[in-house]
């Protein structure tokens, strides 16, 4: 592309959003199918570009786990195309009537879902986000402006080109997908300050990235992801539930935001539950960062510091602390939780109700694994992200969270008395 400023891209996206908003559900399905086919057909050039990103990453000395997140191979490109087809198969939220009534004077009011207009996305290493966000934005009738991580720049450039050509071939303006990657830091700034052009901005990545976007942006932001997740083992927690849920929540996929990071154990239950739960965790390779009481009950405990309570490990590490009461557990959560997901394991119904009522998080559970906080598990079919803010949407976001609403009023000459 030859445009000289990120602002031009934003303007083109805004202009294109008028066209995408008018697409029928069938139009959008066809466009997404064209993108899926194009990804498959261009797998070789995508993988080649990705190879250049990986070579540069290796030369820059980025770690192997980051290299793995960056990598696109035949299988992963096929998975990208498959993900696009899954999004195409979701019900179109646009035009859904969500409210309405007849005013006493006969004016017919109808509240319907409409696209936001232009969705901005700022994200980090994984190039699959480029395709995921573009597909979700298009399915919900939006144009999209992307700003991916510089580590995936070559991959993202080709992915955007492939998707834009596919749109064009499907009779949809290619301008509906824009990238500002080639403007570096200025691209991100244009997105964050694009008032009147960016209708909503979704950051995806590290806590630091999200904090920067939330703090700097003058456009509306949906805050996602950070998950310092707690499980409380109450006095009455059954041993098998305590063990199975904590192990599942930590071990099944430690690198994601709904994995548990801290276990709080009621003092009276500590001798009964901690050795059992800790040994199950340790046999799965989990390192336990515990307080003195935990260290007295279990071997090989790393002494926990203040920092451990605040840390989202995203690894096979877990913090474990003994608390004197449910009040103390709630205080600890209030202080350290990022408001993502917390769960209590208990058979005491009044403690269930108190926990569900008082914990101020997007998802509050009793006797279930925190790993269930997930768009697919919640039945939304797609994963836009997990909102940890209270405005607009909270918790797993479905496709309809990428829409706004609009009121339509149909009258026959009515005036206000």
């Amino acid at each position: 592309m030859t445009d000289q400023t990120p602002q031009v891209r934003l303007e083109r996206a805004k202009e294109a959003s008028r066209a995408t908003a008018a697409l029928t559900s069938d139009d959008k399905e066809r466009a997404l199918e064209a993108i899926a086919v194009a990804l498959e057909q261009n797998a070789a050039s995508i993988i080649e570009a990705n190879g250049r990103d990986i070579d540069r990453g290796r030369a820059d000395g980025i770690g192997e786990s980051l290299i793995d997140r960056l990598r696109l191979d035949e299988k992963r490109v096929a998975a990208l195309a498959s993900a696009v087809r899954q999004v195409a198969a979701l019900a179109d939220p646009v035009g859904r009537v969500v409210g309405g009534h007849r005013m006493p004077n006969g004016v017919a009011l109808e509240q319907i879902r409409v696209p936001f207009g232009v969705v901005g996305a700022i994200y980090e290493a994984r190039p699959n986000v480029t395709v995921d966000i573009a597909a979700l934005a298009l399915r919900s009738g939006n144009a999209v402006v992307l700003r991916g991580g510089s580590a995936a720049k070559e991959s993202n450039t080709v992915l955007v080109e492939v998707m834009r050509r596919a749109l064009d071939g499907a009779g949809v303006t290619a301008e509906a997908i824009q990238t500002v990657d080639d403007f570096g830091r200025d691209g991100a700034k244009a997105l964050m300050h694009g008032r009147g052009f960016i209708d909503v901005l979704v950051p995806r990545g590290s806590a630091g990235l999200i904090e920067t976007v939330v703090t700097e942006s003058t456009v509306p932001v949906i805050e996602t992801g950070a998950g310092n997740v707690h499980i409380v083992l109450d006095e009455s927690a059954p041993e098998d539930w305590a063990r199975d849920i904590v192990v599942n929540a930590k071990v099944q996929r430690p690198s994601v935001c709904n994995a548990v990071e801290t276990v709080l154990v009621l003092r009276q239950a500590a001798p009964r539950l901690i050795p059992l739960v800790a040994s199950a965790l340790q046999s799965e390779g989990v390192a336990i960062h515990g307080d003195d009481i935990v260290a007295g009950l279990v071997s090989n405990v790393i002494p926990a510091t203040e920092e451990d309570w605040a840390t989202e490990y995203l690894s096979l590490d877990i913090a474990m602390k003994v608390v004197d009461s449910l009040d103390d557990a709630l205080d600890h959560i209030r202080r350290y939780s990022t408001g993502h997901t917390e769960s209590i394991i208990t058979t005491d119904s009044s403690n269930v109700e108190r926990f569900l009522a008082e914990v101020d998080s997007a998802v509050v559970m009793a006797n279930a694994s925190t790993r269930f906080t997930d768009g697919a598990e919640f039945g939304f079919g797609a994963e836009v992200g997990i909102s940890t803010q209270k405005l607009h949407t909270r918790g797993p976001m479905g496709l309809s969270e990428l829409t706004s609403t609009k009121w339509l009023a149909r009258g026959a000459g009515q005036t206000r008395g």
Copy 2:
């Protein structure tokens, strides 16, 4: 109060929000009734403090219209109390179940309305906003931090004191209502940067105030109010509808955001409609700012400049322009509208549908007065404001727009496979 920093007030509000979130609907009704009674009983001291604001305003030379907006007399204090009782009578949105289902594994998911926590408000001269916002926030289970205009400082101080004492007498913590008025500009800054303490910030006032709050804030903001509202008179517009709706939309209450500011007339209809509509407006004292064609059809037209198209007059002024086509009308609206309300007058059903589909505003009307964009007219019972943003809420805001949601999950030991 003796606290030395605005931050202390924010912390107290946050702490108090735990208590207000736990109040039952009955508790909140009792607290609001106590506030209404206290306002009535303390009318004399409220009016006295207001008198000091008015004296200072006069000494500072602020205009009579501002003095009128500032003034509290017996009747207006009684109206304040009555407004509080109306809010108390609204259905409590907190705890309402808005979604949910059983996961395939049996986990019961429930999505319920919960208070935001702490609602911040930054507003200008009218002291009634102090009471309105506090009542709406409390009814929806929130604590509130207020920052009113300096012109109403004495009035607001007494109003806040009266409401806090009333809460205390009703067994609700007085800390649920905070003001940062005594910190001047630092109070507003603390609100705008109160991440972790202010869950949502609502600015109410001039376009300049709202722009500042939206741009400076790092907390989530609900943008309200600015209304550069358009009515399009299509070729087929019936003469009586055109005249009655334009006059109603301009004259019934010119100072509010849903009053029409610009009328766009299709060229073919200009000779038929403009003299008729203009003379009806002029006989109500409206000054017409028109283009050359309008000036050729009507006497006493003020020549319109570019600035007129962008101006929210909020007065007995109206801009009038002839356009060649519906496309041109839509282009004009896209360029100058603030996204509040637009209406088309037409009997052409395809133009109705096109207008409703393509205009990207909170409320889009056909053949009805723009004055209907209003919480009470929409049947919400209370007026939190008119949102002109697309995130969270758009158009007239009811009480439930001052709440968020939370997912509750009740399991019996389920883990993720």
